[in-house]
Amino acid sequence: MKKDDFFSKEELERYSRHLIIPEFNIDGQKKLKSAKVLVVGTGGLGAPLLQYLTAAGVGTIGVVDFDVVEDSNLQRQVLFSTDDVGKPKTEAAVERMKGLNPHIEFKIYNTQLNSSNALDIIKEYDIVADGTDNFPTRYLVNDACVLLNKPYVYASIFRFDGQLTVFNYQYEDGTTGPNYRDLYSEPPPPGLVPSCAEGGVIGVLPGILGSLQANEVIKVLSGVGDPLIGRMFSFDTLGFETRIFKFKKDPKNPISGENPTIHELIDYEHFCGIPQQEEEDAKQESVKELSAKELKELKENGEDFQLIDVREEFEYRISNLGGELIPLNNVLDEAGKIAKDKKVVVHCRTGARSGDAIRALKEKFGYDNLYNLKGGILEYADEIDDSLAKY
């Protein structure tokens, strides 16, 4: 009997449903086993990506994340169980994956991908799957992959909407497919990005998009089918509207166009307009602050003060401190409700929106009696009242 020595008997049996697909067969499976895939982000998209790539038999899988598992992850990050809360995501993920398929080699990067480590990490891999959740990392992954000539599979989600495409595909003739900067040359400025109050995602959505992402990774690696190159799949799950939009390389692309100006990784936080820590501190200095403990004392001493909550109503319904609800977008219109003759404590979830509200009220109406609750309701829940639900 002649036996292929590339795979053990156990592997042949495990992967047999791939091996009997005529156009995939044992050649496709060999390509998967020889491949190295880097999965950036082990969140909602990373969960199905990692599970399907592991199950499918990708030989080496790198896993990058710096977060620990939190309760609020479990609604969509189905890789984790309740017992994993508090553990580093990479470790919890790999522990689970090892149980799923012992034939895979895993490499753990328990770190945040950044401009100083991205090239070193990515260069070891054949393809990257981007399952991150913010613009700076999106552009970082893109630029690193372009500089290293690596294809990468992109998926992105927001509430009920998803997008998917294959960027920077490497054709055999040395040409490449379009990348993220061909589609979106620049990120939105921070003020125009949906804020933390407006984020949120329906739990199934990353499962759908992450699964499609895994399928594209497998197609690119095996060479079977037509990967989603220069085409973006867009899915509005609420209306069940699916579209595929075509896009081309942009000659003005700053990293891969005719006259590229980017030759190395840059500061992506800065590029995305995210203020540096010093700027953030300077901004906060202009606002008077009150700690969670000080707020508790105010309450206990029966002092006359007003508590304003600038979050949205749907947040208020999760947990609240009994403040008067005036969402940030309405504070200027409803300023008449905010006292000028006594201490007013303003809060939101983390202190960011309430800081913005105070600065706007000071500038427009000259308030000088407003105090920002430091760390928002989250810090109050941590330090004073652990019965409050955090989100």
Binding site: G43, F158, F245
Partner: protein, 92 residues
């Protein structure tokens, strides 16, 4: 009338309206009509120089207007114009 689809992240600027119908002859005119009806949408779609923002793509059918005739791209009554913003995930 041509139909413009409004993506979810921008619907808060259109009072949750998902589509906008226009008799305009080209994309630019239709988008101007749209932001005239929903003024809060204007700064989301256009920058200070009045150009389309670089994190907003506009497709006529499945074609990028950049590969057609940009804002001058003609639209007909059965045309669907899609506004597709960059989305990055849950974190801001």
């Amino acid at each position: 009338m041509a139909k413009i689809t409004i993506p979810t992240p921008l619907r808060k600027f259109t009072d949750q309206e998902k589509t906008f119908e226009s008799n305009a002859e080209n994309v630019d005119t239709a988008l101007r009509e749209l932001v005239e009806k929903h003024p809060k949408l204007k700064s989301q779609l256009f920058n200070d120089e009045d150009d389309l923002r670089s994190f907003i793509k506009v497709f006529v059918g499945d074609e990028d207007i950049k590969d057609l005739n940009e804002g001058e791209t003609a639209i007909k009554k059965e045309t669907t114009v899609s506004i597709v913003p960059a989305i990055a995930g849950g974190k801001s």
